[in-house]
């Protein structure tokens, strides 16, 4: 059993540098691919040419959380987290089967390049475009600022001999190894502690890298880096699974070993805890089938990738590819975390469990540091790809949906390009400034904004695709009702109510009305409001409906 934790050395940093260089190379290659066609269509939508691999492995919910937040929950609460993530088994079918074909067709027929574009053209309503633009820009800016902190934190921990410490799930200050903490306190650089210095260095390097390569390659750079990190993540999980089983003596020893370090409750619901918290009550178990399925479906960054797919054959292949990929990521991670709990029962910050396992299982192997590096760059890549895709969505929203629509409809390609670059640099600067005092509750902000996006856009997207009677006021009302419900439950949970001792522990929490996840209420509010307002307002023009719903 591990009695001390390993620290990264130069091999890990080398792996990170290789990953960054590879991402920049992909961006340069992407730039060549985007030189065909108009700037907007190629830079923000990759000329609608996404293939099956790119679509399958990048269009649904996969981020740094897959490699950090989720393993932390398995490590903390046990096998019940398998039920928490189980809806991922149907995400390939729902993610592509519910909307992909129709959205891809509608966006082509209407010429839509962005999600607000789609709403605007479908309903012939600038208001629908503006409301969706504003919601997207607000939610995604918050999510993105939080992700910059995650990127900087990972850069900090891969620094040779740095403490392995990233943000706790509840947003509290990260714990560090005592030895490393003592070192950080004794060393200062320009008035900053060693730890702070590494964080700010990581923040600046991360920002330059991610803004730089996104500027160069646009949408395709974001997608290809996402694909690259997805493959790395798969490779990392397979390696770590093999190493964990080798170290613990086979798959049959993993869960019993973890149970021996905790209690039999580690194998059952509602999950193991030391403070009486019920991680997954039956009500929450029911809710999570909405969280992952609609959470993926309602993300603007996911919707835009569906719009960008090449053809229907691509969509079909993506279903199977993603199904295989998900089963080879999420189930093995449970076994790895069981091994971690058995081998390292007292990891101080649960979010560190994968980095620590990577370092621990490779500590005695020749070239183990590089191997650990390979495993550790996967979450970094995931965060980088997430930030890159958000940058694209925010830039397209500001440049196409605001600047081109409202300020300068006759803008030339060169002007659009210049504004896009300027917006990206500006967003990078805002992210750095916002993280000078690092945001707290990182994971919780990401979850809240993700749920709010899903509550705002999942129902309107379904109405847009399939319901002839849907109207612009109805869809706007559905968006606002979903966002409003999310915000109301957040205010109730964080400011007005005591901790219900349900779900993950965090101070930035929503209220679980009737024990259900907020997204369930958000979707319900969005659906009811949307349908009622649609039926109470004037039907859309028959000509537009025929154009978008009938055979050409």
């Amino acid at each position: 059993m591990a009695d001390r934790f390993a620290a990264p050395d130069y091999g890990v940093l080398a792996a990170l540098v290789v990953f960054v260089v590879a991402s920049i190379a992909l961006a340069v290659y992407a730039q060549r691919a985007t030189q065909k066609g108009s700037f907007l269509s190629s830079y923000f939508l990759g000329n609608r040419g996404l293939g099956a691999w790119a679509l399958a492995l990048t269009a649904t919910v996969q981020s740094g959380g897959t490699f950090m937040g989720y393993p932390a929950l398995v490590y903390s609460h046990g096998w019940i987290v398998g039920l928490w993530i189980a809806s991922y088994m149907v995400v390939p079918i729902t993610g592509f089967g519910l909307l992909a074909k129709r959205l891809a067709q509608l966006s082509r027929r209407s010429g839509a390049i962005t999600v607000p574009d789609l709403f605007r053209e479908r309903f012939d309503s600038p208001a629908a475009g503006v409301v969706s633009s504003l919601l997207i820009i607000v939610f995604m800016t918050f999510m993105m600022v939080a992700q910059f902190k995650a990127g900087a934190s990972i850069m900090k921990v891969v620094w040779p001999n740095a403490a392995v410490a990233v943000d706790a799930a509840d947003g509290t200050a990260p714990a560090t190894d005592l030895k490393a903490e003592a070192t950080s306190k004794s060393t200062t650089t320009g008035g900053l502690s060693h730890d702070q210095f590494l964080f700010y260095l990581g923040l600046v390097l991360f920002t330059i890298t991610v803004v730089g390569y996104t500027m160069v390659g646009g949408f395709l750079a974001a997608v290809w880096t996402d694909l690259f990190q997805s493959v790395l993540m798969w490779l990392g999980v397979m390696l770590l699974l093999g190493l964990s089983m080798y170290q613990l003596g086979g798959i049959g020893n993993l869960t019993p070993g973890a149970v021996a370090q905790t209690s039999p409750q580690f194998a059952y619901g509602p999950g193991y805890s030391t403070d009486g918290r019920q991680f997954l009550t039956p009500g929450l178990a029911f809710s999570v089938f909405f969280v992952w399925v609609f959470g993926g479906l309602g993300q603007p960054a996911s919707l835009v990738r569906l719009m960008a797919c090449k053809d229907t054959q691509t969509i079909r292949r993506s279903v199977l590819l993603l199904a295989v990929y998900n089963s080879m990521i999420y189930l093995p991670l449970i076994f790895i975390c069981m091994a971690a709990r058995a081998a390292m029962p007292t990891v101080p910050v649960a979010d560190e469990v994968i980095p620590r396992m990577a370092l621990w299982t490779t500590r005695d192997l020749p070239g183990g540091s590089l191997l650990a590096g390979l495993i550790l760059v996967a979450p970094f890549g995931a965060v980088m790809a997430t930030v890159s895709s958000y940058l694209i969505v925010i830039a397209s929203g500001l440049v196409h949906d605001v600047y081109q629509r409202f300020i300068n409809p006759k803008a030339t390609e060169r002007q659009l390009q210049s504004w896009t670059y300027a917006v990206m640099v500006l967003v990078g600067i805002v992210a750095i400034v916002a993280n000078l005092k690092p945001v707290a509750y990182l994971q919780a902000i990401v979850v809240f904004c993700g749920s709010s996006c899903a509550s705002s856009f999942a129902v309107p997207a379904l109405m847009t695709a399939f319901w002839r009677r849907a109207t612009a006021p109805g869809v706007i009302a559905a968006m606002l009702a979903g966002a409003g419900m999310s915000l109301t439950l957040l205010v109730l949970g964080s400011l007005c109510m005591d901790d219900q001792m349900l779900g993950p522990k965090t101070n930035f929490r929503s209220y679980y009305l009737l024990g259900l996840e907020p997204i369930v209420w958000g979707l319900l509010a969005s659906a009811i409001t949307g349908v009622v307002v649609c039926l109470c307002t004037r039907p859309p023009s028959a000509k537009r409906i025929a154009w978008l719903f009938d055979a050409a």
Partner: protein, 99 residues
């Protein structure tokens, strides 16, 4: 009701696929969540029952349906979904929304 002859064939097939996708989701939810609630929620007082080192309820209600979902995904993608042309991109000048 729209006459089948006028409705866009891509819309028709997309709706048919969406209905089945929603059904698959509902069945997975019912089986996985229902079974797990019935058999996977215990007070931890009794010893854990394992199948190949995995808690028995997790084998039946998480691992097994996850395996089955691979087969269903294959069927959905290669037997149920159909290929259709998505159409040409409509090229239009961006209208001004400034008032």
């Amino acid at each position: 009701m729209v006459a089948p002859t006028t409705e866009d064939p891509v819309l028709r097939s997309a709706r048919r696929e969406a209905v089945v996708a929603a059904l698959v989701w509902a069945i997975a939810l019912t089986y996985t969540v229902g079974g797990s609630i019935l058999y996977g929620y215990r007070d931890g007082a009794e010893p854990v029952r394992y199948v190949y080192g995995v808690p028995d309820w997790a084998v039946w209600f998480i691992v097994l349906p996850w395996g089955a979902s691979l087969v269903v995904s294959w069927w959905f993608a290669y037997c149920w979904m159909t290929d259709e042309p998505l159409g040409e991109e409509h090229d239009q000048e961006v209208p001004s929304d400034g008032r």
